[in-house]
Amino acid sequence: MSEAQDKGAAGSKTKSASSGKKKSRHDFVDGDRYAPAPESSEHVVVKDSYDLFIGGDWIRAPKRTETRNPATGEVLSEVGEAGPGMVKKAVAAARKAYEETWSTMPGRERGKYLYRLARLIQERAREFAVLETMDGGKPIRESRDVDLPLVAAHFFYYAGWADKLDYAFPGRTAHSIGVIGQVIPWNFPLLMAAWKLAPALACGNTVVLKPAETTPLTALKLAELIEEAGFPPGVVNVVTGGGKTGRHLVRHPDVDKVAFTGSTEVGKMIQRDLAGTGRRYTLELGGKAANIIFDDATVNQAVEGIVNGIFFNQGHVCCAGSRLFVQEGIADTVVRKLKRRMDNLVLGDPLDKNTDVGAINSQEQLDRIKVLVDSGSEEGAKCWQSGQKLPRKGFWFKPTIFTECAQSHQIVQKEIFGPVLAIQTFRTPEEAVEKANNTPYGLSGGVWTDKGSKIFKITSQIRAGVLWANTFNKFDPASPFGGYKESGVGREGGLQGLAPYLDLR
């Protein structure tokens, strides 16, 4: 004990001496950031190379691509790029599994597999969260506290429906559809896999899943877990690759239904490809959500909601609150508070537990954001960026807001899919509603007011699939999600999310 004390005294002496000269950058008061608190990634097993998961086997594709950590540029692993032959094989495996086992299995048995998978995900949640952050660049706080709990919740929720399908749509009988081709995006890689797989499997369909090119790893890990859970071979197949692979899958004539989440541009291509084939599709596409703040809103909480709306997952969110409408009387206050709050966001290493804003997913996306932000300044909107320093390696973009935006500016019209907010003010509620609806999209929106009656009045006038009142970006497996207009077709989640995976007669 005395030894410890001596050491301590000596330690404190040297410390106080050094602190007299120069304060550390991690000093709580004078430092510019908190000391690093990284989540350990040691327990995460990432193989050097992953194959395609087809018919319960891991099959090697001759063509390979690398997947990188967008925060460091470091190569994480190498995955196969499935060509037309591999996709064909995967669809055939899914067809076989559909006919021989999965579609004839009683719903309660299918439910058991899904429950087992949900429990396995919960057990391994930390590992998945870390890998999701490494492959995609999102903060560990989000992958740990948002993505993974929702992934497990989705499987639990739809597992519960598996044996109740006959009661889900009274007066109609529910039949499975067949083989489903699913193409998912890079912003919530594992969560989107869960949104797609859980209802499809619960309804008795089999699946060929294609994860995004830049974020394939958690889907492949999920395939390992599906193997571990003992699913019959071919019920779930995972083929990795880029847009071409996706196109092969979508165009395959033996795919009975396509489910896609991604850009409106690709969504339109899929619609063209499937037109006249009689094959079904659901599309969850882009958005340009209006977040409307009335002058009777709870201002401090609204500012927090704005931040959650646009800087959550670096703004790589299709339902992000990327257009802000503030009633003129409180506009200055809201912008002042928003700037102050933005300066307090911690930007950097996504694995650090204190990080609020992580890395941009890819060079391509970063370029796209930059082009649109430049256009904003050129077209006359006023740009303001928070004061964080950006790391040297990797892809980063500072939280950005534009004031004095016009409805005709590209930053107001186009989906930026980055941490960029376009702010407009309004005088009357009618004006806010008109501008909020004046967009080709209609995925989500938010209304902030302390007055309950106003919430109902305004939200009923906004054409968007999801509306939040006095909160933003809240998700639940029991709640349907999907868009109007160019934001997509069909709903995912809840009872409504079952229908697209069933043949209702």
Partner: protein
């Protein structure tokens, strides 16, 4: 304070509070992970923000003297730790405390105005302040009449605080809202606004005699009130959460919230205090742990 008389605030201009939003935000501060150097400097800072408190019927001059010694030099073997900001006692023990702290820089704070209930006539409450200030108190922790506040007599609360502030003379006034009795965050916000407008130097959550005492969300509501008041008037007001903060981890959550809400200017004992009796030793224990890499038994920290 300037010579201008305090003006009753326009309560229509106040922002309302969303309970769910505030509690969610408060939880975010708890998710911060403060490590190594950041942690050590936060712990050291917390020690200097302590209002070392004893408010019991059985308090003796001896106990107060012991606490003063602790406040002056919390960790005997390390003079770089502390001193605490103040010692907080009942009016009758102010004189003892004042003598014991001497010129150490540790302030003497006294509760007054019919602490903890505030259920006595204003006349007696004011004379209690004068008595404590006369005995040498540097700071007065007053309680408001919660009954009147809940009854909607906002103007009366305002006048009461203005009178107390006058009675304080040069002493700093901390206004205890007793948030555990105020029922809603909106009431806490209104009370904060009235207290600041009436001239409070600090607003304080609780007496420590009512549960719940200080919580992160209620402190956040008050910090936001301070910020809005500062934006409007340019006058800084201090914050003191009191009661229920008994471990270093919780104290650090409060400091993170303070830093990320009001900013660096408030990260000093001039503008932030912890009202606590058992927090001190946990802070010291954690400081030693950070410095040496191991925990020491509670017997190596003085109990006063």
């Amino acid at each position: 304070m300037s010579a201008d008389p305090p003006i009753f605030p326009d309560l229509r201009m106040l922002s309302t509070i969303d309970q769910v939003g505030v509690e969610e935000r408060a939880q975010r501060f708890q998710a911060r992970s403060i490590k190594s150097e950041s942690k050590l400097s936060a712990l050291k800072l917390a020690v200097t923000m302590l209002d070392v408190t004893t408010l019991e019927g059985k308090d003796s001059p001896g106990k107060v003297k012991q606490l003063c010694a602790k406040a002056k030099r919390p960790l005997p073997e390390d003079p770089s730790i502390g001193p605490a900001a103040a010692i907080c006692v009942y009016p009758r023990l102010v004189r003892v405390a004042k003598e014991a702290v001497g010129r150490s820089g540790v302030k003497v704070a006294s509760v007054a105005t019919g602490f903890p209930s505030g259920q006595s006539r204003l006349k007696e409450r004011l004379s209690e302040i004068r008595y404590a200030v006369g005995a040498g108190a540097d700071e007065i922790d007053m309680v408001i009449s919660r009954g009147k506040l809940l009854h909607g007599e906002f103007r009366s609360i305002f006048d009461e605080i203005v009178r107390c502030k006058e009675a304080c003379g040069g002493a700093h006034l901390k206004v205890i809202l007793e948030t555990g009795e105020l029922q809603t965050y909106d009431t806490v916000r209104i009370a904060s606004e009235i207290a600041m407008a009436a001239g409070a130097d600090f607003i304080k959550t609780s007496t420590g005699k009512i549960q719940p005492a200080a919580t992160l969300p209620v402190t956040l509501v008050m910090l936001e009130a301070i910020q809005d008041y500062y934006d409007r008037t340019g006058r800084m007001v201090g914050m003191k959460p009191a009661g229920g903060i008994s471990d270093a981890k919780t104290a650090i959550h409060y400091l993170v919230m303070l830093k990320e809400t009001l900013g660096k200017e408030w990260l000093t004992s001039r503008w932030f205090r912890f009202g606590a009796s058992s927090l001190t030793n946990d802070l010291l224990m954690q400081i030693r742990k950070q410095q040496t890499g191991r925990y020491q038994s509670a017997d190596y920290f003085t109990k006063d």
